[in-house]
Symmetry: C2
Subunit: 538 residues, 2 copies
């Protein structure tokens, strides 16, 4: 308390305190956030901002080498967990290596690129393994720090909000016996639905297959095989990192995957305008596009550049925050294609300026993506296919040219492509002709724009806005101290019982037994009659 | 137009007409309703009222002998379909017979009551079969009436709203190529989820089993067997009634069950405060308790009676509109138990007045159920367990004593019982002592009331009110001319493909082939070595 406050007349001070108490009772919850760094934090921050605006008190646990999560913020109090650091540099190294391999994968069958695919898997596996090991260290430090754990317990939070792309938040919630809410699209076991909802592999494409919900027999075969390979790889990279921690802090009999099934509510960064319709469960809340918002006006110079495009309109290109520069030859092909367009182009580009850059192309180090996508002059959005970018293109109804690189990008873009709102260009095959063709198609064939505007209309037509939906369910968990009544019992069953293997085995055994008895009786009677006849004949 | 309107100045008249046109364009859709009669219409009418209030134009198709659906209404235009009539009387006969059998079923195992259970099934089967045959006649008349069909087509409705407890609405929607919205809990194939969402029998109790989502091995066995028996019976009673119609008007290759899978949106009279959490699909919208509303004040004399109960409060009993009178001996046992209470009792009762009626008990021919349930003096609600009554008890937080008779009543009540908010009394075993015990337990053990109030809080805590939710999705279908993008592809697949039987067979065959080849190679090598040695030895 500052002096002014202490010098207040007694009654005013009391009123002030009562008001404070009332406020904290009426609207304020205490929320402990264990986020995942990088682009995942960009999403989490949107929710943190909204929760802060509604009067909740937020504590964020961050690693000491955090990339995006600032120590000081007006939105939250942070607690820094020590870790070895170097994540950002490591990530950069992995990323360059992945891009290098990606450029070797030519279109065509899986088998013709098997070596590159295997290398890609290997790098990914190594990257994820290193990443989860680092996260594991952070979690171990957290649980070992008894003072910290005691203070977290004493703070009496209402819930833990976390991203299950890492296991720390879910473990912390169980340790502190707090309700658990996920901001999720991926758990460390893969796409979140596969952990929680029935996912028939006959029409639910597995992660990174680029398949749709309409599959031929070979595609369904591929999907089933991908599922088993994927599950094996995912367990290989997450189990060694988390199992020792779980054994140490929760006991040897606890399966680390059960922590994820504790969640009261899964706020899913997804919806069925973007995703194929599929089975779901009652504690999943869809909030796809929750970060989207109406565009604001552009800075004067950018607006002038946009307006100079006249009726031709503009092209917006960015490959996200991760891939800032492409190989020089690829960039030059892209620049050459752009130079042939009547449109103006705004290109987020950090590397060496392409030699053949057209007068119509503006290179920028950063661009106001949302305000450009919402601009009426924008004709097409060229993106690597990150979830945020694709969701924002849907929100603003701007058709897409996709240059997918890795992770979930090919899957994200194939979902928009199959709805007729995107053209995908293979970056390994990209030249000025292919790229210009793609541009001309999306800009001048109106069906792409029409389809994307239809998706936009559907996406915007919801009874509750996605972000309000998300905050409603977080506050719901605070109000009711959890939402366990929305969890299905499937989690608590072995696959054996869940699939009624025992029941069907028993029924089959009963049918067999009855059949055997029947056969025995028939044979017995047959022999009786037969022997009788034989005796008569003799 | 009345004279006043015709005498208006020209410009005013034009403005008025423009306003009318604008209004009808802005908010008015044209909705064709094919309802199911009886208690289902009570529900449908709530939605029709709301749609009417929001400016939609509604046409209701009703059978000429309709029980509840009036020909003239300010809410809708009706089209009457000819039918033989006599439904109400028939229904009464079936009902008495069912009640008679029900009173013979004593608590205990299924097997000790096997004869009564079989009789009950038989009566139910016969009743449903007769009912569907009658509905079938109505549908045939409708499709045969070319003038009617042409006028329905010419009217250019925006959608068909129907109850899939009968097949007419879904068939009509396909015939007229209109979007289809269900107001549903049951289709003619049973509980609606079983037709549309994955329903693992290991934790999803089948209809009329009174099981929960937590089952022992014998219970799971019972559930699986009940499912197969139930599906057989349901197909037996609906297929003969609908198959000939489908063959005649849609062609011989069309399966009648596919009509139900056409639905764009399933407005489900259910939610997960009442129902066990289970898998669902994106085009199911839960609107359980959509008919519930705050209570209004009681008529003066009833309010006076209620107030005269003092702190003891009141007991409200009704067995719904179908069962108006119980056997005299059962009524007298109930009356005797009531007479011993310090509470006042309001009992909806139509039969002969019990001899031993207490001074504290008021018999009424009709009671304002919602206003009584919402009254702060109400301590317990005695109900047969119809969906509406149970939902209203949840809404108002009033604990329940259930006297389930048949249909979905036992299941409805077992769901509230397992949540600790109801006591179920077997009507075949009911005497004054058992009934009084139940009353004392629910009135004086506060956990029942507490649990029901918790359910009430959860039920009322939704981002959108159930009825608004329902209307939103109906208008959504109007705005977007359907919602096919929310239908999963599961409907379009055979069970064979859906369950990946072909893929797993192929994989198994591949594994077998590899194994056989391996064995052959090993045997070949073994023989080579073995023969070689033998030769050496010789």
């Amino acid at each position: 308390f500052n002096n002014k406050l202490l010098n207040m007349p007694h009654s005013s001070f009391l009123t002030f305190m009562l008001l404070l108490i009332q406020l904290s009772v009426a609207s304020g919850g205490k929320i402990l956030v264990f986020p995942l760094d990088g682009s995942h934090w960009v999403n989490m921050k949107v929710i943190v901002e909204e929760l802060h605006a509604r009067g909740h008190e937020i504590t964020v646990l961050r690693p000491s080498d955090s990339w995006y999560i600032k120590e000081k913020s007006p939105l939250y109090t942070s607690v820094t967990l020590p870790c070895r650091g170097g994540f950002e540099e490591n990530f950069g190294v992995y990323l360059s290596r992945q891009l290098e391999i990606r450029l070797q994968i030519k279109p065509g069958s899986f088998w013709s690129n098997i070596w590159a695919h295997m290398q890609m898997r290997w790098v990914l596996l190594d990257q994820f393994f290193q990443f989860h090991k680092k996260v594991g260290d952070v979690i171990t430090h957290m649980f070992e720090n008894e003072d910290l754990m005691q203070s977290l317990e004493a703070a009496k939070y209402d819930l833990v909000l976390t991203d299950p792309g890492i296991g720390g938040g879910a473990m912390l919630a169980r340790k502190l016996q707090l309700p658990l809410v996920f901001n999720v699209r991926w758990t460390i076991q893969g796409e979140a639905h596969f952990l929680i909802a029935p996912s028939p592999l006959s029409y639910i494409p597995f992660t990174a297959t680029e398949l749709t919900d309409k599959m031929t027999f070979p595609q369904r075969l591929k999907n089933v095989l991908s599922y088993f390979v994927g599950m094996f790889i995912l367990s290989y990279m997450s189990e060694p990192a988390y199992k020792p921690i779980v054994n140490r802090f929760f006991g040897p009999d606890v399966d680390y995957s059960t922590f994820f099934l504790d969640a009261d509510i899964w706020l899913m960064r997804n919806d069925f305008v973007f995703e194929f319709p599929r089975p779901t469960v009652p504690n999943v809340v869809y909030m796809g596009g929750f970060q989207c918002k109406p565009s604001k006006s552009l800075p004067a110079d950018l607006e002038e550049f946009v307006q100079s495009s006249g009726d031709h309109g503009i092209v917006v290109m960015t490959l996200g925050t991760l891939v800032s520069n492409l190989p020089q030859d690829v960039s030059e092909e892209i620049a050459a294609a752009f130079a042939q367009l009547p449109q103006k182009v705004i290109w987020r580009y950090v590397g060496q300026k392409p030699n053949n850059l057209g007068n119509n192309t503006l290179l920028v180090k950063w661009l106001p993506q949302n305000n450009l996508l919402g601009h009426p002059k924008t004709r097409v959005f060229i993106t690597h296919g990150g979830t945020n970018g694709v969701q924002e293109a849907i929100y603003h109804g701007v058709p897409v040219i996709g240059l997918p690189l890795f992770y979930d990008q090919p899957d994200n873009l194939s979902r928009v492509k199959v709805k007729g709102a995107a053209v995908i260009v293979d970056i390994a095959m990209l030249d000025r002709h292919i790229f210009k063709d793609a541009l001309m198609t999306v800009i001048y064939n109106s069906t792409f724009g029409d389809n994307m505007r239809t998706l936009s209309k559907l996406h915007r037509d919801q009874p509750v806005k996605p972000l309000d939906q998300a905050v409603f369910w977080i506050e719901y968990v605070i109000r009711h101290k959890g939402a366990r009544h929305l969890q299905t019992r499937a989690h608590k069953m072995s696959w054996f019982v869940y699939n009624s293997v025992d029941v069907f085995t028993a029924l089959l055994a009963a049918v067999l037994l009855v059949t055997i008895i029947l056969i025995a009786v028939v044979r017995f009677l047959w022999r009786k009659i037969f022997t009788g006849r034989k005796m008569k004949q003799q």
